[in-house]
């Protein structure tokens, strides 16, 4: 039987499912850095230009999300590594976001109705 155990496997699935791709070169890293700097400059523009105050929150959130995604995808190599690693970050990230929004709503209600 031990021989059978050694040879008759019907599956040899690698534990985390898929292989990763090669990391990008320096040129891509520099381009990402330029984008990050540009996005930061856009954030500052939105902050200082009073005509944009009405859209301050959504625009800043989108810009921050874009910067976050650029660093995570290119510098942390999630774009090139196994999907497992993306899942390991994304699931708690979603939980963290929901937690943050939930707490803000709960405390906003508390502040309005109870003080």
């Amino acid at each position: 039987m031990s021989d059978a155990i050694g040879t008759m496997a019907d599956s040899t699935v690698p534990p985390d499912g898929q292989a990763h791709r090669a990391h990008p070169g320096a040129a891509v890293y520099v381009i990402v850095a330029v984008f990050l700097a540009a996005l930061t400059a856009m954030e500052l523009t939105v902050f200082y230009v009073s005509a944009l105050k009405t859209v301050l929150v959504p625009v800043l959130l989108v810009l921050a999300a874009a910067k976050f995604a650029l660093v995570a995808m290119f510098y942390m190599h999630l774009r090139y590594d196994s999907w497992l690693l993306s899942g390991v970050l994304l699931f708690p990230l979603i939980i963290a976001t929901v937690l943050l929004i939930s707490l803000l709503f709960l405390f906003a209600y508390l502040a309005q109705h109870i003080g």
Partner: protein, 818 residues
């Protein structure tokens, strides 16, 4: 420094033998660590049990003076804390999961053996802190939930809560490290052929529990950090007089506390799911649904914390949402109960003690589950809150559900762990004493609660009509105590002179039964190839659905065959114990207010961590001979770092939430308008560019370019130092402008959030400097690119957290939310 680990000859016998005391103090073998956890938990179970007896003796008669109110507070606080953190969790996760997960998945150890040992020693240190009050200063006294602001220095001026905070922080770190270890072990180290849908249900339960640990413990850690700062550094995170809200603690605690119920319950579900099929001689009914149910329970468990807080006035929308999620969680839980019943149905039952406890668990847990659904209904819950009805409910869940499962698991796996059988007659005696004692203790509490008896009171009036049932409960509690005495007698008798256990005493279905009892240090001489669900059963009888019978062949079980060659196993290490001792010294220094002691403890910890990091030439956890290569070329350590970063997301979300809630509560202070955008923009730019240098350093290391590897690594560290310098300047400037840590809620939440980020940057800089030093000594290079990649992941995470902080704290400084 230890040299390369010595190979273990496959002729070596049980993992229990050899090494002496030093061997146990420095062990990294998952089975020995499991024994350490198990032995510790059994000691604490005696302490927690005696505390329960004291509670019941006090409540024997109305107006009792057996215990004072203060001592009663300490005893019931320690009973809850001990049972949750020092008995149930260490038994389920520390002992059983540690022992079984590598055996179940066909591995030779956990992913990070030395971190596993560190988890145990941190657990021990935390447990010691929780119990120091017996000797000096009094035990913790604000309940296991530690509601603010009972825990504040003003209301609890002694050392009681100081011990509790430090102890729980250490236990939290220990648990998160353990969860991380199990997660990586299960995801990355399963034997060839063991797909997710072939894993034993216990492994599924531990996998899901690990995820829960990683996302549930950070809010508790943040809550404890706030409490620690209130008690030691003069902040006011939970004091209403300063504009704060004690409700913040309740949210942070129950964000941990309800998932914690499932952190305790899911492993119990896994244990039952292993025992029932073995003793019914049938495959687990509805395996896929059982696995999905575990995942759904865990997911929903993170969204039900509010049902502990209906009485705080969260509003109809929040109440409705929490009521719905709390009711929904009954569905996957019901699936599990019906699956167990369906597995038993029509089976060839063998009525062993383990099976008795498994059946008992299904019944008792169902009763607890039904009263739990009652709590999900907000109007009903308001009547039951803080009454003995709640005490009845959670004991039916945690004793009837979890403890029954643990008792069954002890009878089921003790022979594998020790090589000795337990006495079945004593076991059945214990079972019936437990059933009688448990139900007679806790079922009447439903009535007492509905009759209005509040929980946590140290005495009650004679004319309230509660005396008779309280007396019944006290008598029954002693019957329950007798049941535990029988268990301990059985354990001691077995250890001393129990009959020898065969490798497979129950005709088991999973891989641990394929190796010797007790297993050898290396678990399996040959690495396992799995051909189906119920892997060992398939090898014995050909198909998972077979009801047994003669084995197909009397050949070697999978992995049990003696290999000719030696096997390399992780070598013992003194550093886990060293780090834990350093943490203990730090905690002691904090409590006694001796800062030099904190510095000494921190120094010992840092040296221990560096020692751990450089103990082996491979600079990381040792590989285990012949382990299957991690899938997709992904390294174990990389998955571990990512899991840690995932947990950190929730940690920072808790800090950021608090900042946003408190930022406009700036009584007397300058408030958010003090924040300077030009300076912080420069710091942000520096940090973003440091990330560019970090990836360039990694690229240089990967291509073997030693010159640029050194330059970029030093560059990142210098950029990090510039960032920290900017933060130091900012903090100093704010202080001179009148914004101290204690000034107002804005100040304390700002300094805590940004300060924690800065501490992360400082750790990153230290890590990078160590790597740069290694690079200059010529000890880095292409073969160790992973070391740079791991540091890089951490550094980039620090960067993305700052992206969020820069936006939410600095750029949105005028936006008010709560």
């Amino acid at each position: 420094m230890a040299a390369q680990p010595k190979p273990v000859r496959t002729e070596s016998a049980s993992y229990l033998g050899g090494g002496g005391l030093l061997g146990w103090l420095t062990t990294v073998d998952h089975k020995r660590v499991a024994v350490l956890y198990g032995a510790s938990a059994l000691v604490f179970m005696v302490i927690g049990g005696i505390e329960a007896m004291l509670i019941r003796m006090q409540l024997w008669s109305p107006g009792s003076t057996f215990l004072s109110a203060e001592v009663y507070n300490q005893i019931f606080t320690m009973h809850g804390t001990t049972m949750v953190f020092l008995v149930v969790m260490p038994l389920e996760l520390g002992a059983f999961a540690n022992f079984l997960v590598p055996l179940h998945v066909g591995a030779r150890d956990v992913a990070f053996p030395r971190i596993n040992a560190l988890s145990y020693w941190l657990f021990t240190m935390g447990a010691i802190f929780l119990h120091l009050g017996w000797l000096w200063g009094g035990l913790p006294n604000a309940g296991w939930f530690g509601y603010a602001n009972l825990t504040e220095r003003y209301f609890s001026p002694g050392l009681n809560i100081d011990y509790w905070v430090v102890g729980l922080l250490l236990l939290g770190v220990s648990t998160v490290l353990g969860g991380l270890n199990f997660f990586v072990t299960i995801v990355m180290m399963r034997a060839r052929g063991m797909t997710y849908m072939r894993m034993p249900m216990f492994v599924w339960a531990i996998l899901i529990t690990s995820v829960l640990i990683l996302i549930a413990f950070p809010p508790l850690t943040v809550g404890l950090v706030f409490l620690l700062m209130d008690r030691f550094f003069g902040t006011h995170f939970y004091i209403a007089a300063y504009g704060a809200t004690p409700i913040l603690w309740q949210h942070l605690f129950w964000l941990f506390g309800h998932p914690e119920v499932y952190i305790m319950a899911l492993p119990a579900f896994g244990m039952i799911s292993e025992m029932v099929p073995v003793f019914a001689r049938k495959p687990l009914f509805g395996y896929p649904m059982m696995a999905y149910s575990l995942a759904l329970i865990a997911f929903l468990s993170y969204g039900v914390w509010g049902h502990h807080m209906f009485a705080t006035g969260m509003g109809p929308v929040a109440d409705s949402a929490f009521a719905i999620t709390s009711m929904l969680i009954a569905i996957p839980t019901g699936v599990k109960v019906f699956s167990w019943i369906a597995t038993v149905w029509g089976g060839s039952l063998r009525m062993t003690t383990a099976f008795y406890f498994a059946l008992g668990m299904i019944l008792e847990f169902t009763i607890g589950g039904l009263s739990g659904i009652m709590h999900a209904t907000a109007p009903v819950d308001l009547q039951q809150t803080d009454s003995y009805f709640v005490v009845a409910h959670f004991h039916y869940v945690l004793f009837g559900g979890v403890m029954f499962a643990i008792m069954g698991a002890i009878y089921y796996w003790w022979p594998k762990m020790t090589g000795r059988m337990l006495d079945e007659r004593l076991g059945k005696l214990q079972f019936w004493l437990t059933v009688i004692g448990f139900n007679a203790t806790f079922f009447p509490m439903h009535f007492l609660g509905l009759w209005g008896m509040p929980r946590r009171i140290y005495t009650y009036g004679a004319g309230l009509g509660w005396t008779d049932l309280n007396r019944l409960e006290t008598v029954a509690a002693f019957i329950l105590g007798l049941a535990f005495l029988v268990l301990y007698i059985n354990l001691v008798r077995s250890a001393a002179a129990g009959s020898e256990a065969p490798a497979d005493p129950w005709d088991g279905r999973t891989l641990e039964w394929s190796t010797a009892s007790p297993p050898p240090a290396y678990n399996f001489a040959r690495l396992v190839q799995v051909r189906g669900r119920d892997a060992f059963w398939v090898e014995k009888y050909g198909a998972a659905g077979s009801r047994g019978g003669p084995m197909l062949a009397a050949a070697q079980p999978p992995g049990g065959e003696q290999a000719a060659e030696a096997i390399h196993m992780p070598a013992p290490s003194i550093f886990p114990l060293t780090i834990a001792l350093g943490a203990g010294v730090m905690g002691t220094g904090l409590i006694v207010g001796w800062w030099r002691l904190i510095a000494i403890g921190a120094g010992v910890m840092i040296l221990g961590i560096i020692g751990l990091g450089f103990e082996y030439p491979s600079w990381g956890e040792e590989g285990h001979d012949g382990e299957p290569a991690p899938g997709g070329g992904t390294d174990l350590r990389k998955v571990g770092v990512w899991a840690f970063l995932g947990s950190e997301c929730v940690f920072f979300a808790s800090l950021i939430s608090t900042y946003i809630v408190y930022k406009s509560r700036n009584a007397g202070g300058p408030g958010a308008s003090i924040l300077e955008i030009p300076l912080t923009s420069f710091s942000t730019f520096v940090l973003l560019m440091s990330s560019l240098l970090m990836v360039l350093a990694l690229a240089a290391t990967q291509r073997g370019d030693r010159l640029w590897e050194r330059i970029w690594l030093l560059g990142v560290a210098v950029f990090g130092l510039i960032f920290l310098g900017g933060q130091a300047y900012e903090f100093t400037h704010f202080y001179h402008e009148g914004l101290a840590l204690q000034t107002d809620l804005f100040g304390q939440s700002f300094y805590t959030l940004v300060g924690f980020h800065g501490a992360h940057v400082a750790v990153g800089v230290l890590w990078l400097l160590v790597l740069a030093a290694a690079a200059f000594m010529g000890r880095l290079g292409k073969s160790r690119a992973l070391s740079v990649e791991l540091a890089g992941l951490y550094w980039h995470f620090v960067d993305v957290v700052w992206i969020v902080i820069f936006t939410l704290v600095y750029l949105m400084q005028q936006v008010k939310v709560a």
